[in-house]
Symmetry: C2
Subunit: 126 residues, 2 copies
């Protein structure tokens, strides 16, 4: 009935809000860096991951990994040995997220200079 304009979005109100919320969650700095590390290096232990992600604190690593586990992006495997051994790996869902962000990543790489120039031009105005 409604003559909705053509968009790439759902026509169901409220879904957009959920989608935005989800993207906000997922577009977190540490989430993206961890995602990247796991894509590149595969399954990793906690400490190895801490070394792979530059500048992350233990707190943020734990917190972000928990959230990614809850969202179904990573699978956490605990080996009941002493000392403890915990592995993190991407789930198929997590991998698909990485692929979705690939476009943004490529865009950022491709337009790094454009943005840089735009900023310089803007800052030099007046």
């Amino acid at each position: 009935m409604e003559n909705q304009p053509l968009t790439r979005h759902s026509d169901t109100p409220g879904v957009d809000a959920l989608v935005n919320e989800l993207i906000g969650r997922v577009a977190d700095k540490w989430t993206l860096l961890i995602l990247e590390s796991l894509e590149e290096h595969g399954e990793q232990r906690f400490t190895a991951l801490a070394r792979l992600v530059p500048g992350i604190s233990q707190k943020m690593l734990t917190q972000t990994l928990r959230q990614m586990e809850r969202d179904g992006f990573v699978q956490r495997t605990v080996h009941p040995v002493i000392p403890p051994h915990v592995d993190y790996r991407l789930t198929p869902l997590g991998h698909s997220l990485g692929e979705a962000f690939c476009g943004v990543w490529l865009w950022a790489e491709a337009h790094l200079r454009d943005v840089h120039d735009a900023r310089n031009a803007f800052d030099a105005r007046d």
Copy 2:
């Protein structure tokens, strides 16, 4: 000489950092919502934009628009009339960013339920 594994990233150290920084900037909640509004509805005035983006404050709208203008994503056009009339529209660069995010948007739409279910499963265990 290095036997680098296949990745989608630049092999130049430091570029990744810039790319991450740029994505962090761009993946902001308000930036995405404004981007979406301008893609869907085309050129808009300040007040119209404020109505199109649900829940945004005047401060955040101004701040985000300035940042997007500086980054070269939107063009700001001031019509010197009284009362003031200011239009915002996407630049080609801004539009290309929107297209890059389209993949993430589609992913989020497609996997909304997966994430929802994963969270329920996670919260229900133990």
